[in-house]
């Protein structure tokens, strides 16, 4: 059996750049509490008059006086909503499950909102208030509306944010949570349809001028029925390779669609592909090892049973599959890193998020492959060739020449002549069919993402992108691109493909790094796996200097991808220079010259690419908030990490800054959310 494919990390840097793995519990004691306003407390607009619950599970630091803390909302996905405890499930895990709301008197609610306790408790111990909200009522009625409940879920998130406004700002519900959370430093997490609900929230927020600032959104194995595009907020998508529910990994579109959607987008984007991971194990209530009612299953195994085929890599019997706790720990690692960076300003996790270092121990089993797009700011992103259209094969984004030498296969797939998502060309010879219908299970990026296919390599095969004369890339940290092994190529025999990368300067000095092994994706369950999933290759420019010290990065004339093999093919996208080289350390703290601190995640990731710096955003900043000094090293005090240090809030839920006009741009298509009349609002606005 083939060994598990590992992420290709050309970074020669450290295997870890942080003092402690992000999934390790923090130092703060935590408490768990719940709140509930009844099963039918909230009625989303345009949802068929279905009333849903307002229930939440809170994990938070026991000592709330140390706050206010960042607020993270978790929205679970679609699952059975009720179960009959009198019916055994040993023969059929769905035997006692139902989809209704509220539950019939003889049934009990499936507590899907409890399924993330393992993570919420951990993150809370680092200084966060983490709230998992119930959405059974939405799950019971969402198929009756065209958008599969995305807008209803978005409204539900807002209803809880409104509640938290009341908890925080008034004594209407007691004083325990007064001044406990920072509603300008919010993180959103959604699993499955909950992930799509989070994406839809940005639409909803923009349409309703909501007064909340979200600084990070994490979509876990999300659905994408509506093709929303979210920009302007740090966005991470986790794609479990062995997802047996969303088995076309349609959530790949969130990154693909947003990465170049908005000029000047200040927010980074990430994809974390988790090997051996399924859809359900991220929620313990959906995991058969933890919960036995309401249809808790290994979803990939269920899929195998349905179509009566098995897969040696993703099947439940595969040694490459992660157990429930392994999978949950990998999620803790990356979710913590993401929020502790973007909400908490812990820049030491930047290298992990960018794929510069190996996954932490807790996520090692998931063999995470990272794809990262830096902010679209002048110093952070120089796109050489995004492979947008057929023209990209001859002229790149810098308006310089592109050549393919000795490439028998040189073409574009994934988009069509119109560049739309309807008239696309597949990247594999046969896209996959279920019941005779095309099915994109093997091509999560299609339709919508153009791929460049390079293959049938002759002697001296190269793909060359010229750069305009005098192109200075010395201020960037890395060269990066996305790549995939074309498992459908006649010449790829299942062994890794190889390529090297060369930079050539204006004087002809050539620095070549490599070869890079592009590993084949695993699986043989047609048409589910293997999958053409592009992933990021990040090559520090220091590596090129190391092999050719005289190369002039201030005058790079071309980039060459060099192929030594004589057959096979790879797929490619997004060739670019990434991330500004950080300034040398100067003193302590992250105070800028004018004495202010902007510790927003966006700025930190743009300005400290190494994470080596100890530029803690928690350092001094005396602004209007004077209620804490937050010298415990944890995230969350609003005087340093959050809103008061930032300028402007556009009211759309995304971050704004007067100094960066492009920051607030939030482009959304596809969902016509309409302005909704919110039936539940916090009374203390």
């Amino acid at each position: 059996m083939r060994a598990r494919a590992l992420a290709i990390l050309l970074a020669a840097g450290p295997t870890s750049a942080y003092a402690a793995d992000p999934d390790l519990p923090g130092s703060m004691p935590t408490s768990r509490e719940t709140y509930g306003f009844g099963d039918t407390a909230f009625m989303p607009d345009n949802f068929g008059f279905a009333a849903v619950e307002l229930q939440g599970v809170i994990h938070r630091p026991t000592d709330l006086d140390a706050g206010p803390f960042p607020l993270v909302i978790i929205l679970h996905g679609r699952h059975s909503t009720c179960f009959d405890p009198q019916i055994p499930t040993d023969q059929d895990p769905f035997a006692n499950a139902s989809v209704e709301w509220p539950c019939a008197p003889f049934r009990e609610p499936v507590p899907s909102l409890d399924g993330y306790d393992y993570w919420a408790e951990n993150l809370a111990s680092h200084g966060y208030v983490v709230v998992s909200i119930g959405a059974n009522g939405v799950n019971a009625a969402d198929d009756a509306v065209e958008d599969a409940g995305a807008n209803a879920r978005a409204q539900l998130i807002t209803a809880h944010l409104d509640l938290w406004t009341a908890f925080n700002d008034t004594d209407e519900y007691g004083t325990t949570y007064n001044d406990s959370v920072d509603l300008q430093n919010i993180g959103l997490v959604g699993h499955s349809r909950g992930g799509e609900g989070v994406a839809a929230w940005f639409v909803h927020a923009a349409n309703n001028d909501l007064p909340y600032t979200v600084r990070g959104a994490l979509l876990l194995a999300p659905t994408d029925f509506n093709r929303a595009i979210v920009t302007g907020v740090p966005l991470a998508t986790i794609l479990p390779y062995c997802d047996g529910d969303v088995f076309d990994l349609q959530g790949a579109h969130y990154y693909d669609d947003s990465r170049h959607a908005t000029a000047g987008d200040p927010a980074p984007k990430y994809v974390f592909e988790m090997a051996g991971s399924n859809h359900n194990f991220y929620n313990t209530i959906w995991s058969p090892g933890t919960f036995s009612d309401g249809g808790a299953v290994d979803d990939f195994t269920s899929l195998e049973l349905a179509i009566q085929q098995t897969d040696a890599s993703c099947g439940g019997a595969s040694p490459l599959r992660l157990g429930e706790q392994e999978q949950q720990q990998s999620f803790v690692a990356y979710a913590n890193a993401f929020f502790r960076m973007h909400l908490g300003g812990e820049t030491e996790y930047v290298p992990l998020l960018r794929g510069e270092v190996e996954p932490p121990t807790g996520a090692a089993a998931a063999a995470v492959r990272t794809t990262y797009m830096p902010p679209d700011l002048a110093g952070d992103r120089l796109v050489v060739n995004r492979i947008a259209t057929a023209a990209s094969m001859a002229t790149n984004d810098l308006d310089a020449a592109v050549e393919g030498e000795a490439l028998g296969d040189y073409g574009l797939c994934g988009v069509g002549p119109g560049g739309g998502i309807e008239d696309f060309d597949h990247c594999v010879a046969e896209p996959g069919t279920f019941f005779g219908d095309p099915f994109e299970g093997r091509e999560p990026h299609v339709p919508g993402l153009a791929h460049l296919r390079l293959g049938s390599f002759g002697a001296g095969a190269r793909w060359i992108n010229a750069l305009p004369r005098g192109t200075d890339v010395s201020g960037f940290v890395a060269l990066q691109f996305r790549v995939a092994y074309d498992f459908d190529s006649a010449g790829n025999d299942g062994s890794s493909a190889e390529l090297s990368v060369a930079l050539v300067d204006g004087a002809g000095t050539r620095a070549m790094v490599g070869p890079i092994a592009v590993a084949p994706p695993l699986g043989s369950l047609y048409p589910i796996v293997p999958k053409l999933l592009l992933y990021g290759v990040r090559m520090p420019l220091a590596e090129f200097v190391a092999v050719a010290p005289t190369i002039d990065l201030a005058d790079v004339a071309s980039i060459e991808l060099v192929f030594d093999q004589d057959s096979g093919a790879i797929l490619l996208s997004d060739l670019l220079f990434a991330d500004e080289v950080p300034p040398p350390p100067s003193g302590t703290g992250s105070s800028s010259d004018d004495g202010t601190v902007d510790s927003s995640g966006e700025d930190e990731i743009g300005n400290d690419s190494t994470g080596q710096g100890t530029t803690s955003p928690m350092t001094t900043n005396d602004d209007d908030d004077d209620d804490d000094d937050d010298d415990d090293g944890t995230a969350g005090s609003s005087d340093t990490t959050g809103p008061s240090a930032r300028s402007g809030d556009d009211g759309c839920g995304c971050t704004t800054s007067a100094s960066q006009p492009g920051r607030a741009l939030l482009f959304v298509i596809a969902i016509a959310a309409g302005r909704s009349r919110r039936r539940f609002r916090a009374r203390a606005r």
Binding site: R78, H79, S80, T81, D90, Q91, D92, P93, F94, A95, A97, S98, E100, N139, A140, D143, A144, V145, A148, S192, D248, H279, V297, D298, L305, A306, I307, Q308, Q309, D311, G316, A317, T389, A390, M393, A394, E403, G404, E405, L407, G408, D409, G411, L412, C413, D425, V428, A429, E430, F434, F435, R453, F457, G458, F487, D488, G491, L525, Y526, P527
Partner: protein, 154 residues
């Protein structure tokens, strides 16, 4: 009827990779298309793809009734279709696909599909009804149900 729990011993792990083509163009000339070249797609001829059979559903139409602006078509399945993230049961009536549905009384083996009355009016009486949901399909039925507009009740 019901799927068994996930404790299954897999005795067959045979690969079923798609067929591969012969390596015909290993040595090829330099290709530098002009900027204005038409799209060079990389579609390739291929052998017939492997067959993936759907998990077979048996479907029975229980009722067709008018409910407000919709016509409800209630069906009973021979198995439970669990509600999951990507699950979106779809009723195909001839060439028309109906995506909106609800589960009566929470049952996983019954679905009420919701068809706008204006759409329903355009449907061809006698058209075949097929239910699909991800890996499940009723199109294998030898005697599939057909739309009977005379059965509509209020």
């Amino acid at each position: 009827m019901s799927s068994s729990r996930s404790l299954v011993l897999f005795t067959s792990l045979a690969a079923c990779d798609p067929p591969r083509e012969p390596d015909a163009d290993a040595k090829a000339p330099t290709v530098t298309p002009p900027a204005t070249a038409p799209i060079a797609t990389t579609s390739k001829p291929t052998a017939a793809p492997p067959t993936t059979r759907a998990a077979e559903l048996e479907v029975r139409v229980d009722a067709i009734r008018i409910a407000g602006d919709d016509v409800e078509i209630e069906v009973t399945l021979d198995r439970r279709l669990p509600p999951t993230g990507a699950s979106r049961p779809t009723l195909h009536i001839g060439d028309v696909a109906i995506h909106r549905s609800r589960r009566p009384d929470g049952a996983l083996d019954r679905i009420v599909f919701l068809v706008e009355r204006t759409v329903f009016d355009t449907l061809v009486d006698g058209a075949t009804l097929v239910v699909r949901d991800r890996a499940y399909s009723s199109e294998q039925m030898t005697d599939p149900p057909r739309l009977d507009k005379s059965a509509v009740t209020r």
